[in-house]
Amino acid sequence: MMKTFKQLALASTMLAFVGTAAIADEIKVGSVAGVTGPIAELVVPIVAGRQMAADQINAAGGLLNGDTMTMVLADSQCDPKAGVDAGTKVVNVEQVVAIVGASCSGATNGMVQSVTIPAGVVALSDSATAPSITDLDDNDLVFRVAASDAYQGAAIAQLAWDQGYRTLAMTYANDDYNAGLAGVFEAAFKGLGGTITSNQMHEPNKASYRSELSTLSGNGAEGLAIFAYYGGSGIAIMRNALEAGLFEKFLAADGMFDQSVIDQIGADVLRDNIMITQAASDYDDPSYVAFAGAFEATGHSPQAPYAAHGYDAAFLIALAIEKAGSTDRAAISAALREVAGPPGVVIRPGEWAKAKAAIAAGQDVNYEGAVGNNDFDGNGDVTGLFSVNVVGADGKWTGNLIR
C-alpha cells in the first residue's frame, strides 16, 4: 500500500514537473473551430489563417521571452454541447491563456456563457456573426473580428438597391447564420423602399429545391437573393433555378463565396448575373496585401471566407499577450482593447518584430489587420468591411470593396 502511494506521489511530482517545464517555453492559445459538422469545409482555411499567425510570430522572436505560441485545436462541431466541451478542454486541460473561436454562433454562445466568461478567459471569435453575441454580459471577455450580421445584411440590401433592384424574391437556409442575415436583409431592403415578393426558408442538403423555387418565382421578382452555404444548398438552388428558367439574377452573401460555385454552374451563365457580398478586406490596403501574399504561399486562397479574420484574431491575441507582458488571463483581456485600436504605432500583418520592439520600448501599438482596422466598440464588436464579388473574365471571382 505504502509502495503504491510512493509511486503515485512520484508520478504526480513528475507530472507537475513536466507541466511546469512545458509552460516555461510554450504559451498555448485555444483554437476552437467547427472542424466537423455543417461548416467543416469553411473551417480548414480559417484554422490555417490562425496557424499562420502563430508560425510567423514564432519565426520572428516568439512571445514574451522567446516563448512559442502554440495553437491548440478543439472541435466545436457547430453544436453548443461540443462548444462547451471544447472550451472546457482548452481552458482547463490545455491551460490556454486565451481562445480564438468558436466558429459558429451557437457553439460560441454556449462556450462563452458556460465556460470562458465564468473562467475569465478572453474569447475572440473570427466568424461568429450572430447579433445576440453583441449584448452578452461578458465582463469584456468576448470579442470578435467578424462583423455582426446586422452590418452585412444592411450592406447587401444597399448594394441591391444601388444596382437598380426594386423587387426581389429571397430564400435562406434555416441555420443560425443565414437566418439572421436574411432577416436583416429583408428589413433593410424594405426600409429602402424595395419589395420582397416571397421569402422562403429552406432546409439545407436536400436533393432538389424545385418546389421552393416554384413558390418563389413569379410576381415580377427581378432576382433571387440566396442566403445559404454553397455546399449545403446554394449551388443546388442556383442550378434548379437556372434549369427551370425561373431566375437568372442572383444576390448572395459570403456563405456562397467559393470558386466551386462558378466551376459547377458555369462562368458564362453567371457573368453579370450574380453578386456576392463578403466580409472582406480592402484589397489595396497594405495590411491585406501583406497577409494575402503570405497566406497564398501556404497553399490557401486569401479570399477564403473568414481566413483573414482567423489570422487577425490570432495575431491580436498574441499582441495582447505581449502587451500584457504575462500570460495572466485577466491582463490579456485588459490589453486586447489597447492593441486593437488607436493610439499607437501601426502594426500590420507579419510585422511581429516591429510590434515586439515597440511594446518593449513601452510604446502603444495599434493593429491594422487584414480585414480592417479591428477597432473594437464598447461591446467588443467591429463594423467590418464588405466587398461585392462578380465573375471576372478569367472565370474567377473578382471583388471590389463597398465604400
Binding site: 466537423t36 485545436l73 478543439a74 457547430c78 453548443p80 491551460q95 459558429c104 445576440s132 443560425d176 437566418a179
Partner: protein, 315 residues
C-alpha cells in the same frame, strides 16, 4: 499545480456531461432495456425538455416567447411533464408498431420535433437559439460553481438510479421484462400489455426531457443543433449498449465512459500537427462506431449484463 487544478475541473465537466447523458441513457434503458421498445427518437424528447426548461427559467427576452423566470427545479419538472405528455401522444400513435417499425416512427417524430423548434422562430428564436439560461449555483466562485453543478447532476442520477432499481425489482419491472421476452405470454397471463408499454415509454420520455433540461442549464444556451441526432440519439444508444442494456448501473457507467472517450480523445488528436489535427477530429466519430461494433460483436450483453431476478422457486 494549475495543471492538476485544471484536470480536476475537466474531470468535473466529464462527470457533468456524463451524468446528463446518464439521464438520457437511463430513460432509454426503461424503454429499450426493460421493455424492449426501440425508441430511436431520443433527440426529440431531449430537445423538448431542453427548450421547455430553458424558456420557462430564463428572464423575459424579446428574442423568444416568455422568459418566465421560473426557478430551475420547477422548470425541470415542467420539462419532464411536457416530455411525458408528448411521449404519451407518441406512444398512443406508435405503440402498435413493433421493433424496427417503432424505431423508424420515433426517428421521424424526433426530427419533426427538432424542426418545429427550429422553425417556430417567434416561439424559440429558431436557429439562433435561446441564451442566458440560468445554471444552478453559477454565482458561486470557481471551482464551487462547477462542483455544485456536478453534485446536482450526480444527485439527480443517483435518485433516478434508486427509483429505477426499485421499479426493476417490483412486479411492474418484472412484467416489463416479461413483455420484452414474450409479449404473447404476458398477454395470456392477463397483463394489459399495451397500457404497460405506454407507461414505460412515458416514464422514459420524461427522463429524457429531464436530461435535455439539465443540458440546457449546463450549456446556458440551447439551439436546434444541440439536438443533432449523432450526439443526442446515436451516442446515447452506444452508451446504453456498451454499458449493458437492461442494467441501470450499466447505463450510468456506459454514459460516463463513452462521454469520456468521446471528449478526451480530442486532447490527443489536437496534439497532432497541422492538417492532421483537423482530419483526426473525424477519428472520434469513427471510434464511437468502432466501439459499438466491437461491443455488439464480442460483448452483446455490454459491460454490465442484465441481472436476472431470482424467481423464488426453481420450477
Amino acid at each position: 499545480m494549475d495543471q492538476l487544478y485544471g484536470y480536476s475541473l475537466y474531470g468535473l465537466s466529464l462527470l457533468t456531461f456524463g451524468g446528463i447523458y446518464a439521464m438520457l441513457a437511463l430513460g432509454l434503458n426503461i424503454q429499450l432495456g426493460f421493455t424492449g421498445l426501440f425508441n430511436a427518437g431520443i433527440a426529440g424528447f431531449f430537445v423538448v425538455g431542453a427548450y421547455v426548461s430553458a424558456i420557462l427559467s430564463t428572464a423575459p427576452s424579446e428574442r423568444h416567447i416568455g422568459g418566465f423566470d421560473w426557478p430551475i427545479p420547477f422548470s425541470l419538472v415542467a420539462a419532464m411533464v411536457v416530455s411525458a405528455l408528448i411521449g404519451w401522444a407518441v406512444a398512443r400513435i406508435c405503440m402498435r408498431l413493433r421493433a424496427d417499425y417503432l424505431a423508424i416512427a420515433t426517428l421521424g417524430i424526433a426530427e419533426i420535433l427538432r424542426l418545429i423548434f427550429k422553425n417556430e422562430t417567434d416561439l424559440t428564436n429558431g436557429a439562433r437559439g435561446v441564451s442566458y439560461i440560468p445554471k444552478p449555483y453559477e454565482s458561486l466562485a470557481q471551482p464551487w460553481n462547477h462542483v455544485m453543478m456536478t453534485v446536482v447532476v450526480l444527485a439527480i442520477v443517483a435518485v433516478l438510479y434508486f427509483m429505477l432499481e426499485r421499479a426493476r425489482k417490483s412486479p411492474w419491472g418484472r412484467v416489463m421484462a416479461a413483455i420484452r421476452e414474450n409479449e404473447d405470454s404476458a398477454r395470456a397471463a392477463g397483463k394489459n400489455v399495451d397500457r404497460l408499454r405506454v407507461q414505460a415509454f412515458v416514464v422514459g420520455s420524461a427522463m429524457m426531457g429531464l436530461g435535455g433540461g439539465m443540458m440546457a442549464h449546463h450549456l446556458k444556451f440551447i439551439d436546434p443543433n444541440a439536438a443533432d441526432p449523432t450526439t443526442a440519439t446515436f451516442l446515447v444508444f452506444v452508451m446504453l449498449i456498451v454499458g449493458g442494456s437492461g442494467n441501470n448501473k450499466g447505463a450510468i457507467v456506459g454514459a460516463l465512459l463513452m462521454w469520456t472517450i468521446w471528449s478526451a480523445t480530442e486532447i490527443f488528436t489536437s496534439m497532432l500537427p497541422g492538417d492532421l489535427a483537423i482530419r483526426s477530429a473525424y477519428i472520434r466519430v469513427f471510434l464511437i462506431g468502432l466501439m459499438l461494433q466491437i461491443m455488439l460483436q464480442k460483448f452483446p450483453q455490454g459491460l454490465f449484463p442484465e441481472k436476472r431476478l431470482e424467481t423464488g422457486s426453481s420450477g
